[in-house]
């Protein structure tokens, strides 16, 4: 026998408690990693991805307020803008549905092409869509769901707009985060609604992720103090804007993480204290045999840290495996895109668990150090 064997035998003497400790650290750790990943997903815009290049500018007053079509001339000339197209949400109901789940947007097909970075035309051709004012381009998921083909007609009843659409499918696209939408000619919408000279929002592409923030600032500045001030944000931030309306999500996630860490420490501290208290007498015997305080401290620390480390390995590893292998994009309909458990997040999870292991060892170690041998020998088993 040697000291490590001794420590191991002690740590595993109560298998059920050791298992429960490892599991509770593991689950808390997995939860913490998940929360940190969620918080990263919600706050860090996807970097060097097409989506972070795309900016949506909407009316500062509200999303429902239109913007003047003549803003186009100004936006086009803003440095860093590579492409811009009107982007107006139609919100119609398909066929006789009462609430259609895929969106329809009126765009300028020529300009819009420059905004489609990751999209690929799967059937038909973009040129056909561009040429035919009454045509549309449909996402492959919608096509699949309704059994549609090139040349089929799609009829929509307006809800916001008092007009109906009758569109012919000219192209089918895929390969984007959300392959469900329908795009049609803004000109058609303008004609049908009596040429109001407005658009819903502007869809803009920045030259690079680095300049995206500058472009946003310039867009906001360009229309400041005009009748139609704009609010520009990345496409991703725009999507997440809906979520953050529920409250300060980042703060909430941090609070929950804090609560998890707190619970985690309470659990490990109490189990470690229990594990040591029932061994008080044995520790007194070890002291009598000549073991030093620092050696007993090392035993307790090694045991506590070892169990916490095992829990961390399980929890962090489990969370990583789960979130890496689940297709969250599909499960959440594109709301969660990357949900990447980064090495940094894993390191945080592991570090917190390891720290808990150390912290949990301190109270019992302190008690043990202070205990006199005679006192310890008198404690009952």
């Amino acid at each position: 026998m040697n000291l490590p064997t001794f420590i191991l035998k002690n740590a595993l003497r109560n298998r059920r408690r050791a298992l429960l400790t490892v599991l509770s650290v593991g689950i808390s750790c997995a939860l913490l990693v998940t929360l940190l990943t969620l918080q990263r997903e919600l706050t860090v815009p996807p970097e060097s991805q097409a989506a972070s290049l795309r900016i949506i500018a909407r009316n500062k007053v509200s999303l429902a307020q239109p913007l003047p079509a003549k803003q186009l001339r100004v936006i086009e000339r803003i440095p860093g803008v590579v492409a811009v197209s009107p982007f107006t949400y139609f919100g119609g109901n398909f066929r006789d549905e009462t609430l259609t789940s895929f969106a329809q947007f009126a765009v300028d097909p020529v300009r819009f092409r420059g905004l489609l970075v990751e999209a690929r035309v799967m059937e038909g051709s973009y040129e056909a869509f561009e040429k035919d004012r009454l045509s549309c381009m449909v996402g492959i998921e919608t096509v699949g769901r309704y059994g549609l083909r090139i040349g089929d007609r799609m009829k929509f009843t307006g809800t916001f707009y008092p007009v109906d659409l009758d569109l012919k499918i000219a192209a089918v696209f895929g390969g984007t985060i959300d392959d469900r939408g329908v795009f049609f000619h803004h000109k058609l919408l303008d004609e049908l609604s009596g040429d109001p000279g407005t658009v819903g929002t502007w869809y803009i592409r920045a030259a690079s992720p680095e300049v995206a923030n500058d472009v946003i600032a310039r867009l906001n500045g360009a229309f400041a103090n005009t009748a139609a001030e704009v609010r520009a944000e990345t496409e991703r931030a725009f999507q997440l804007g809906f979520v953050s309306m529920l409250g300060n999500v980042k703060m909430l996630v941090l609070l929950i993480s804090g609560a998890v860490v707190f619970t985690l420490s309470l659990v490990t501290i109490s189990t470690m204290s229990m594990a040591i208290r029932e061994r008080f007498r044995e520790l007194a015997v070890l002291k009598a045999l000549g073991f030093q305080r620092r050696e007993l401290f090392a035993f307790i620390l090694a045991e506590s840290f070892g169990l916490a480390a095992l829990g961390a390995l399980l929890g962090v590893g489990g969370a990583w495996a789960l979130w890496t292998h689940l297709d969250l994009q599909k499960l959440t309909s594109g709301f969660l895109i990357y949900f990447e458990v980064t090495p940094r997040i894993m390191a945080w999870g592991a570090a917190v668990a390891a720290l808990m292991g150390v912290v949990a060892a301190l109270p019992p170690a302190w008690q043990t150090a202070r205990m006199s041998v005679t006192e310890g020998l008198q404690t009952l088993d």
């Binding site: 026998m1 040697n2 000291l3 001794f6 035998k9 002690n10 003497r13 007498r281 044995e282 015997v285 070890l286 002291k287 009598a288 045999l289 000549g290 073991f291 030093q292 305080r293 050696e295 006199s372 041998v373 005679t374 020998l377 088993d381």
Partner: protein, 226 residues
């Protein structure tokens, strides 16, 4: 001329204070113990036997007076020095065995050797010798809960003598044992003092046990009476 005593106790007092109340557990005790003696400490409950034994063994400290063991004043050692001193000089046997339940008999005996510089093979040899001495050579792989009380106490004695200590202290080692096991344990302690010239100090309530010793000391209210 008599050789220098291995243990020399002078004017040893121990006072416990609990708030207003003072308990004098030991009052001006002076004893000399020679190498190879088997000293039996007797006396009524609360007379200070355990307290005296603990102070000699360096797990408790006196209020005044001195204890010299091989000329070393134990009271002058720091906590850390005292721990090393105990490891090298004192073997403990307790009333309730106090073996580590997750370790086998051999591992329990090996425990104090882990603090020494001995290598693995040498440790094993010493453990085997000690277990053999207490008649448990074949029980090395058993855990405490697989052994009788008498066997557990013999393992504890093996653990106490494996480091070849100056002193073996035993506080009521037969208190939890049946008559047969008690006799075994007492015979082993007697043989250690008689044949191996070990100095043994034992506390007991049992007058028959006192017969195994070379000398009996009676404590009453913290004072030596005979």
């Amino acid at each position: 001329m008599v050789a220098d005593p291995i243990v020399s106790i002078r004017d040893l007092s121990k006072v416990y204070r609990q708030g207003e109340i003072q308990v004098t557990a030991l009052n001006q005790v002076s004893i000399d113990i020679q190498t190879g003696e088997f000293v039996v400490l007797m006396g009524p409950s609360g007379s200070g036997k355990s307290t005296l034994l603990h102070i000699i063994a360096g797990i408790d400290r006196a209020s005044s007076g001195s204890v010299l063991v091989q000329g070393i004043n134990v009271a002058n050692l720091t906590e850390s020095q005292l721990a090393d001193w105990r490891n090298q000089n004192v073997g403990f046997v307790f009333q309730s065995f106090n073996l580590i339940p997750v370790l086998t008999a051999a591992e329990n005996v090996e425990l104090p050797l882990l603090l020494t510089a001995l290598g693995r093979a040498e440790r094993r040899r010493q453990v085997a010798l000690a277990l053999d001495l207490v008649g448990l050579a074949d029980r090395g792989h058993h855990r405490p809960d697989q052994m009788s009380g008498g066997q557990q106490q013999r393992v504890a004695i093996a653990r106490a003598l494996v480091t070849d200590p100056t002193l073996i202290v035993a506080d009521e080692p037969t208190g939890n044992l049946d008559a047969k096991s008690a006799t075994d344990v007492l015979s082993i302690l007697q043989a250690l003092s008689r044949d191996s010239r070990k100095t043994v100090i034992m506390v007991t309530h049992d007058p028959k046990a006192a017969g195994y010793g070379t000398r009996s000391l009676h404590l009453e209210k913290g004072e030596i009476v005979a």
